[in-house]
């Protein structure tokens, strides 16, 4: 089995984002591997460690500026064998490069560069754009089966048995035959910390470089972002001194009591 894992470089989840004239401020802001992509990498590496899966190699793919190479090195430190970097300086947080173009670039990689991919693993969504579209769009373009929001992935004959998390509960989906696309959700696994020896080894692993515009893909945004703004500041609450005051406020200010 050959696995392709999508990894995206995004603003670190712990950063308090600020909005400037051109959308979210990215200058000097800490960037990291998207948490859901991290889960996808972990899933790929665990499949590789599972002898029954017979994984020949795990390839990580990232699209973005040259610093994506750091993100790819992290993915390789976790266990990916090699990586592909498609270089573009277009903003990947929905401002410029959007899901449709990303899915098409993935498709080009699979059809032209890595022709024998059996399984594509991606995070369910990126935490900057929150779109959750690349996985399903890619499956659509490739005409491959898909299972999204995977909380459990088991080998099942020639295919996979995937448990999918929904708001109503867990759905079990049988993918009869590979190749397929699976997007990974929070409860699938807890990603490993890369150890220093593996980080050192990752520096020597191969990253193939391409330019985004050398593929025959339209990179222009399909949707236009009209405005980016911070949510309005929460109004400060007040403390009241006694129950009578509370009732008075609930009645006369909040209009919640009659």
């Amino acid at each position: 089995m050959k696995i392709l894992v999508g990894v995206k470089r995004v603003v670190d989840y712990a950063v308090k984002v600020r909005v400037g004239a051109n959308g979210v401020e990215l200058k000097n802001v800490k960037m990291s591997l998207n948490p859901f992509c991290e889960i996808a990498v972990e899933a790929a590496v665990r499949l590789k460690e599972n002898k029954a899966a017979s994984v020949s190699e795990v390839v990580a793919l990232s699209i973005g500026p040259k610093q994506c190479q750091e993100t790819l090195r992290t993915a390789m430190a976790m266990g990916c064998d090699r990586a592909i970097h498609i270089h573009t300086d277009l903003r990947g947080d929905y401002m410029e490069l959007q899901s449709d173009s990303v899915a098409k670039l993935f498709q080009k990689v699979i059809e032209e560069k890595e022709k024998d991919v059996d399984l594509v693993l991606v995070g369910k969504q990126a935490i900057d754009s929150d779109c959750g579209q690349v996985g399903p769009m890619l499956a659509g373009y490739l005409n491959w089966p898909q299972a999204t929001f995977a909380a459990k992935i088991d080998l099942d004959g020639d295919g996979l048995m995937v448990e999918r998390e929904t708001d109503q509960g867990t759905e079990t989906i049988k993918i009869a035959k590979l190749p397929a696309v699976v997007s990974c959700d929070l409860r699938l696994n807890e990603p490993r910390y890369a150890t220093l020896p593996n980080i050192m080894k990752a520096k020597k692993k191969k990253i193939d470089q391409f330019q985004a515009d050398e593929f025959d893909v339209d990179l222009t945004a399909k949707n236009k972002v009209l405005e980016v703004f911070e949510p309005p500041a929460r109004k400060e609450g007040i403390t009241v001194d006694n129950v009578n005051q509370l009732i008075d406020k609930l009645k006369n200010e909040a209009g919640l009591l009659q």
Binding site: K30, Y193, P197, T239
Partner: protein
């Protein structure tokens, strides 16, 4: 009033002043049994400069001030014994100096005093390095320095003292002082970093700390082994040290702790370690190494040592999630112990540390006291360091007799400890509850030395007065 002077200082206009009753209460207590003693106000500075100005004003007006980190101390460190005290909440000091490309050049990093240890390790998660000191609580780094904290990894990596290279602090007169450097060792002048370690906010306010980091272990195996007696378990540990086994964690739990542990594991529903039918003193061990073979060697040798001392049911686990569950259960033993007495929200935690040769005797004597007095008091501890804790839960409504017996257990323990050359506190600190033991522990000379230092640095006694040393 003092707060009015603060408010009229334009330089400090951005510093939040909080007098909400509930917040004052939460800033007047830690996680021990000491009664809540709320401060009169909470200030939230954002920089060392803010702290410097605040301290100079407190010094001028002779207003006591108590630095506050995560509020997880257990010896009454933050209790405002003086009602006018100001609480200085360090929660805005959250800077972690990680390079933008995430690559650390040296095995150290500078952090704001308000960063907690879990927050720090989260920031470091892709660097391959980790901050190793792990007390039970998710304490702030500044607080951990002030308390001289340590945890289950001290047996291999040392305590806070051995894991910091330097710090920045503000003295009571407003002086901002740099202590230590980024070098791994130094002989330059007084060791101010060590002086501040364990000073419990009585000498100054820590604003930044340069902590040491260690590589995340490549290969880890956790193991447990049951013994018929605490003595045999302690002897096994001593032998392991003689064989130079570089054990990463070495914890000993008595029967009562094992009871608490099992109930916690059962209720939390995760992780399965096959334990024998009855609760027996048990060693919890962890081994790390650069290769699987290296770790297995340690495990094999340890198994045969445990066997020599009558150990049974030796079991080891390499799986990461199972190991994590095991140590999570160990770290939560405080709460599991409280749960042994329904309705308990507080406990007396003992914290004596003795030379290794005396460890077995001292923990056995305490277990016996707990039994003789008919109390609930699980005993467990860092067998590799000679330090253990007895958790004695208190339920509201406990009669004076029960409470008196609880304190007698602690008192007996500390007396025996000091008699064998140990310390009344291995990691939790003095606060104000253990002041009375310092005389017998250090004698006149040692106490005088501490008083002179305190008088020299804080002549107006504004820094957390009533703790550690009285002037």
């Amino acid at each position: 009033s003092f707060l009015d002077s603060l408010r009229s200082n334009a330089d400090l206009a951005h510093v939040q002043i909080n007098q909400n009753k509930y917040d004052l209460d939460s800033h007047g207590r830690g996680e021990g049994h000491h009664p809540c003693a709320p401060p009169s106000a909470i200030l939230v500075p954002t920089s060392a400069h803010d702290v410097s100005q605040i301290l100079s004003m407190c010094n001028k007006h002779k207003v006591p001030i108590i630095p506050f980190g995560a509020g997880t101390s257990v010896e009454g460190h933050v209790s405002a014994l003086n009602k006018e005290s100001i609480s200085l909440d360090m929660k805005k000091f959250k800077k972690v100096d990680l390079p933008i490309d995430g690559i650390l050049e040296d095995a150290c990093i500078e952090v704001g005093a308000g960063v907690t240890r879990h927050e720090l390790n989260d920031h470091l998660r892709h660097t391959g390095m980790k901050f190793m000191v792990d007390p039970g609580a998710d304490a702030s780094i500044g607080g951990m320095v002030a308390c001289g904290a340590s945890g289950t990894t001290a047996v291999k990596y040392g305590t806070m003292r051995e894991n910091i290279l330097g710090l920045e602090c503000v003295l009571p007169d407003g002086t901002i002082a740099k202590c230590g450097t980024k070098a791994l060792k130094s002989s330059a002048g007084y060791d101010l970093t060590s002086l501040m370690t364990g000073s419990e906010g009585t000498l100054g306010v820590i604003t930044k700390v340069t902590v040491k980091l260690h590589p995340i272990p490549g290969h880890v195996i956790a193991a447990i082994c049951e013994f018929d007696s605490l003595h045999e378990a302690a002897e096994a540990v001593a032998t392991m040290r003689m064989c130079s086994i570089p054990v990463e964690r070495c914890e000993l739990l008595d029967e009562s702790s094992m009871d608490a542990f099992r109930r916690y594991a059962a209720s939390s529903g995760d992780g399965k370690f096959e334990l024998g039918a009855e609760n027996k003193p048990t060693l919890f061990l962890e081994f790390t190494g650069s290769s699987e073979a290296a770790v297995r060697e340690q495990v094999t040798l340890t198994e045969s040592i445990c066997d020599d001392f009558g150990g049974s049911n030796f079991e080891f686990k390499a799986d990461e999630s199972e190991r994590k569950t095991l140590w999570k259960a160990r770290h939560n033993l405080y709460y599991a112990s409280l749960a042994l007495r329904k309705g308990a929200t507080d406990a007396v935690l003992t914290d004596a540390c003795v030379p290794l040769s005396k460890f077995a005797d001292i923990i056995t004597a305490t277990v016996k006291d707990v039994k003789d007095f008919n109390l609930v008091g699980p005993c467990f501890g860092h067998a590799g360091d000679g330090n253990f804790h007895c958790i004695l839960p208190i339920v509201e409504g406990d009669d004076d007799d029960y409470i008196a017996k609880i304190h007698k257990v602690n008192d007996n323990l500390i007396r025996r400890t000091i008699d064998v050359g140990g310390t009344c506190t291995g990691e939790h600190g003095i606060g104000y509850g253990k002041l009375k033991y310092l005389d017998s522990q250090y004698g006149e000379g040692g106490i005088k030395f501490m008083k002179e230092l305190k008088k020299g640095i804080d002549p107006n006694n504004i820094m957390n007065p009533g703790k550690v040393v009285i002037i």
